[in-house]
């Protein structure tokens, strides 16, 4: 197939990444001012873990977003799980939600026992916390801050450590994806351009759609680099890397990146899973390289077997599209 003199090829590949879980300690403390602090050593590298955990905390505690803060960057804090292998939000989130649920339950238990509270005498299972207000039956309500102001110690806190079994379970959990791509190739120079890419992923429940989309796009672009550019070249005589700078260790630049469409689908909720989250980030990286290799095969008949799919491999391959073009 040709368009504007360039060979067009389509390719797809599937991707799969098992979900891991790492041990994480997270402390949730509700103070006298009705504000909560979530404390754990958590590494935010730009992937959005702080935003994700913050929204989990807000949702579970029932406070307004501005009343929940994260304290993450001191070594004296409880040891959270690291930002590795697309596990950060999941591993830390499970401990966080359990701790936040305990704090919320203790707050409600205090509300129904405190004689000065309008909620005194209610059953705690009748109460809900909405946007910083504890709401009961018959329009009874009191703000969390007002309640906490009468709390004897002024603080309700809980530290939860979970995941010591590294998430071992009979139910194997994984993320899945399918990547589709269209490439165009100049039959004479064998220059490859990615024209567009679509990635569809099952990453479980998506906590923050904007961040998840950006993570998956970023992953797929790493996949383009994996497929076409990225390699470390060792000079075996000296033991030095010959391309150890950004000018020669090629990565995808703005001009290499096509329009990318991301589709996320939910998936069945597993029994016994408190948070139906799976990893997001790395699943995007896994499929593009084979999808591009398949698209090159579709366009030219060249079956390339090593990554990156470099120009010299394309030139040296048996099926030369310029020859085939001349013959057909």
């Amino acid at each position: 197939m040709r368009r504007d003199g360039r060979l067009i090829g389509y390719g797809m590949a599937t991707s799969y990444e098992p979900c891991f879980r790492f041990p994480a300690s997270v402390k949730v403390a509700l103070g006298r001012d009705g504000k909560a602090v979530i404390a754990a050593t958590i590494a935010e590298m730009g992937q959005g873990i702080i935003t994700g955990l913050h929204s989990l905390g807000v949702e579970t505690l029932g406070l307004s977003p501005s009343d929940v803060t994260l304290d993450t960057s001191r070594t004296t804090l409880p040891a959270g799980a690291g930002s590795i292998a697309s596990t950060g939000v999941y591993s830390n989130g499970l401990s966080l939600v359990e701790a936040a649920k305990t704090v919320r339950a203790k707050l409600l238990a205090f509300a129904v026992r405190n004689t000065a509270s309008p909620l005194y005498g209610c059953r705690s299972d009748e109460l809900a916390v909405l946007n910083g207000i504890v709401v009961g039956p018959a329009e009874k309500s009191e703000s969390v801050a007002a309640l906490m102001a009468r709390h004897p110690t002024g603080v309700i806190s809980k530290t939860i450590t979970s995941g010591r079994d590294f998430g071992s379970s009979k139910l194997k959990k994984s993320t899945f994806g399918a990547i589709f791509t269209e490439v165009s190739i100049d039959p004479a120079t064998l220059d490859v351009r990615i024209e567009r890419m679509v990635g569809a992923f099952d990453c479980g429940q998506i906590l923050e759609p904007t961040i998840a989309r950006s993570q998956l796009i970023g992953g797929m672009i790493w996949g383009i680099g994996h497929g076409l550019f990225e390699a470390s070249h060792l000079d075996t005589r000296t033991g030095r890397w010959t391309n150890a700078d950004l000018g020669e260790a090629l990565i995808a630049t703005q001009g290499d990146v096509p329009p990318i469409e991301i589709i996320t689908v939910g998936s069945e909720r597993n029994a016994g899973d408190a948070l139906f989250l799976k990893g997001v980030s790395e699943i995007g990286v896994i499929g593009p390289a084979p999808a591009i290799a398949n698209a090159i095969f579709d366009a030219t008949g060249q079956r390339l077997r090593s990554l990156p799919l470099r120009i010299d491999d394309r030139v040296m391959s048996d099926n030369q599209p310029s020859l085939r073009g001349a013959m057909s």
């Binding site: 730009g46 790493w222 000018g247 001009g255």
Partner: protein, 156 residues
Amino acid sequence: MNLELTVNGNETSVSIDPRLTLLDLLREQLNLIGAKKGCDHGQCGACTVIVGGKRVLSCLTLAATVRAPVLTIEGLNPIDGPLHPMAEAFLDHDAYQCGYCTPGQIMSAVAVVAEGNAGDSESVRLAMSGNLCRCAAYPNIVEAVLDGARRMKGGV
């Protein structure tokens, strides 16, 4: 040597080593640390600033050669002032992840608008190719630049 130059509207007189780059002058002597030293040899674009209306790689520019006014990310977005429309567009389109390349991306984007290269996504992709983003927020950056150009309505 003594150098007089205008940075973000402020006239400054500094005593510099003639070998000093504009990037080191900004970061080390003027305490303007928005421009980043990613590679220090013109490959990544993280140090992009605007000199005399044109974007330059400040790591490859000798400070002693600078005569025209310098605009950095701090000048574009004064701490007490409103965000520049281009910075707003970057926020709205989630056009960054770790944020390290972002000051350079935004300075480049503002210059790309002035160059007349922000009309469609293909021109933006080519014109912004000198700014690497390892988090690969590239498609969001294109959307932000196109939107930022609309918000700027031709001005800076």
